[in-house]
Symmetry: C2
Subunit: 503 residues, 2 copies
């Protein structure tokens, strides 16, 4: 995607933030000690990209703060000296949210990985932002509790990144997304002030809801230093099923029938034939590769209800033309069936050198027309797409298998995704269900939410981060205060932005 | 509470907003027609107060807009001419959120009362903001669906007011609060722009989360013109129980034991002895008036699970010293038992001329120490308090029975609530669980959230509503832009604010 590349691979001459001078670097070292500051090319290259294809940019430096107070000092220094900051966990994001700008200082948070308190009376957990999501799952499940959000990257991603992007995952239909589990935050704001918002009270309406305004702000409004999450009782049991369909439209009708029957599965996942074939080729699970669609369905809860729901679901699937059904007989078997869905991305990524995975999302009743549209676009543009995703909540992952060295094909992919995003908006959906706007979607944001809403977002950003220190250029282009002198080379930034180089 | 009164009953000479001139009134009439503009004293007096005691102020005029476009035109006119606006539904709020300032124009929304679309495939409902919450309950339950938030005022309050205050209610423990059900909003912003945020996609992370930022903003950031709510399947069945305890501490331990056993009741409500006696005196339900505490517990869901949970709850209550148990045998009986909790406010309000009901909230594990503290404070200050509330989510309603004509007692009540709010903060709770900050809590806001957070809230308000048009003075005092001339008499407002007359 050439315009993504343009965005990041800028010639060294277009410096618009203060260069990181030796003086700045020594001030950074004096905050967090020189052993926590990394400036060599080989150190920086590891932080020049995230999980998003086609985006890469070396940062100016990488720092590992040791305390919230150090984060605050780094933010204050960035304001004084005029350099941008990008907070980063595991860097598994898929919208370029943690890709730096030239001369950004990356604030590494993945070593802040302690689970601080599991409160079994209030069903809450305080964590540091660098805790791996999957490790949190294990820790609370060992106490009979449950943290429902489970992004596909749960084995490697951090809670801090999940909160910054408001990550979704497989259990969204029944359990909601990350936002629904964040009860409190400690954060450093763009001016270096430390705030604490929310707490263990289930109900709290004191003042504006700063917590939910920070969740999903993609590192542009604050840097999290401590996170309080809500837990729920661990479901007593679960049943996992794979259901195969000859026709894609039958699988969509089965999904609608399940929802209409007022059953809410914990997961209701979809794979198309391309994805099934790639998964089988990769993982050898014994999946039939000639069928059009696969639903991975999981119901959880109390034993009596789970059994009854599973029976009703299977009967609805049969009624809507299911041609093969596989029900897990034990936990090991369930993990095997679930892996059919879990390896989808990895399996597709083996086919071609470049894998562009998106998250266009529609109301769940419109999954079938959306899938048909994606297939049409792929055929028209002669592209290979695998489609899978969260059918139950309309959150699809159209995935283009391509090669970044083939400029023509990359252009075609870019144009295809533009059509797909337009269609999602037309159907009342969204350009991004769970990956965030970041760099890759910002050119589509205004089409979805309208110019008044984008203007409002920009104004909010401008007032809380007037020097555009925190992750600038993500979600939308920053609009620094034009009154008064800008620190560093911010007037050059303004010129740069005025020229429209940021979309 | 004298300082609340000072706030509102200001002498006519302290005009700080433009007087509503004949010219402004005729412009308003030309927007919504003269038959929808009310300016006579008898019309205005009905909108001079809400459900909050001790607060009253005549508005300048009352207008009933007929469309979102008219709301937008009124907001634009308010900016040009410099007069404040207060959007209002049923006026049942308990923090003064819809009490006008002198010369405010009240925008009445309670005639916007249509349920526009119940979407059974996506489990959503589009409503106008003036729909009565209880009527929405009935309408969706008739289709086998369920809208869980149920504020105590559900029979009269509007969805628009619920969203503006992020209302809670009895089902918070299991189902969450209003915010958890708002999927989309159409709103008019302070500059008159119309925005639409959110939609039917369960997952949507495009740009900043403007939706959750508008929910609970108490009319200070936007006026809702259309609201999209999430529904869930209606629970198959429910069981209601009343459990009485000799000792308050036993009831608190029973609550902890229920939560610790990983059961999540739909409601877990508490009444103290004062409240039980008032309820019995008022409603003659046959409650024993000699016992210290009553829990009203409801479990809902699938039949098999409800029966099992109800049995486990009763056994836990017995183990923790329950002295009397009453289980509803049918729906009519359940309504009778629930009425013990539902009439609590009305029953307490009969005892003395003035009833001050607050919503100090603590983590649920700290309900017992909080209740003890409230009792101590009441004894020390020689005040009568009834205590009831949502024990399951820590959201208590300490209710002071007093007389506004007794200045000394009102001062004592004021001082008692100040201690209670301080204690809630000390215990990691909040000054307001579900009523909003409004006028009555704003002096406590900074103590809870800190000065950096309040400063951020003010900055946000200032940038989106530079002329402080939308419900000014609620949550915190407005801070108008000081650059450039202010419209109307806004420079006088600035002087007024600088003098600190607003807390």
């Amino acid at each position: 995607m050439v315009d993504r590349e343009l965005l990041l691979f800028m010639p060294a001459s277009s410096i618009f933030f203060a260069m990181l001078s030796g003086e700045i670097l020594s001030k950074l070292a004096s905050i967090s000690s020189s052993s926590n500051l990394f400036t060599s090319p080989e150190d920086k290259i590891a932080y020049s990209y995230d999980g998003t294809p086609l985006l890469q940019q070396l940062p100016g430096a990488v720092i590992r703060p040791r305390s919230a107070e150090e984060v605050s000092q780094i933010v204050r220094l960035a304001n004084q000296e005029g350099f941008p900051l990008v907070a980063r966990g595991s860097g598994s994001g898929l919208s370029g949210g943690s890709v730096p700008l030239e001369d950004s200082v990356i604030i590494l948070m993945n070593h802040w990985n302690r689970i601080l308190e599991i409160d079994e009376q209030n069903l809450t957990v305080w964590v540091e932002p660098g805790v791996i999501t999957g490790q949190l799952h294990s820790a609370v499940e060992a106490r009979g509790l449950f943290y429902p959000p489970d992004p596909g990257s749960a084995a490697i991603c951090t809670i801090g990144g999940n909160v910054a992007e408001n990550a979704g995952g497989l259990r969204g239909l029944k359990y909601g997304v990350t936002k629904d589990y964040v009860m409190g935050l400690e954060a450093v704001l763009a001016n270096g002030e430390r705030v604490r918002t929310g707490g263990k009270s289930v109900k709290d309406v004191a003042g504006y809801n700063l917590k939910d305004w920070l969740v999903g702000s993609e590192g542009t409004l604050g840097i999290f230093t401590k996170i309080l999450l809500r837990l729920v009782p661990k479901p007593e049991t679960a049943t996992t099923m794979l259901v195969f369909f000859d026709r894609l439209s039958d699988s969509a009708e089965a999904v609608s029938a399940i929802i209409a029957s007022r059953i809410t599965p914990a997961a209701l996942e979809f794979l198309d034939n391309t994805t099934i074939r790639c998964v089988e080729d990769y993982a050898r699970l014994g999946l039939p590769t000639n069928l059009e669609a696969l639903l991975m369905i999981e119901v959880d809860g109390r034993k009596a209800v789970v059994d009854e729901d599973a029976d009703r679901i299977l009967s609805l699937c049969r009624k809507h033309g299911a041609s093969m059904i596989n029900v897990a007989e034990n936990e090991q078997d369930a993990q095997r069936l679930k892996s059919a869905r879990k390896v989808a991305f990895a399996a597709l990524a083996r086919i071609r050198p470049t894998t562009i995975l998106e998250d266009a999302t529609v109301p769940r009743s419109l999954v079938a027309p959306m899938l048909e549209f994606i297939q049409q676009v792929a055929r028209k543009r002669n592209l290979t797409f695998g489609n899978f995703g969260h059918a139950g909540d309309g959150n699809l992952h159209p995935t283009c298998l391509t090669d970044e060295r083939d400029e023509k094909e990359i252009h075609a992919a870019e144009a295809a995704f533009e059509e797909i995003f337009e269609k999602a908006i037309e159907l009342g959906g969204t350009i991004t269900g769970e990956h965030g706007t970041g760099l890759t979607k910002k050119k589509f944001l205004e089409r979805q939410v309208g110019s008044a809403a984008v203007e409002l977002m920009r104004e909010i950003k401008r007032v809380v981060d007037p020097n555009a220190i925190l992750n600038p250029g993500k979600i939308f282009s920053p609009k620094p205060r034009c009154e008064g002198p800008l620190p560093g080379n911010r007037d050059q930034l303004q010129k740069f932005l005025d020229q429209g180089a940021f979309v």
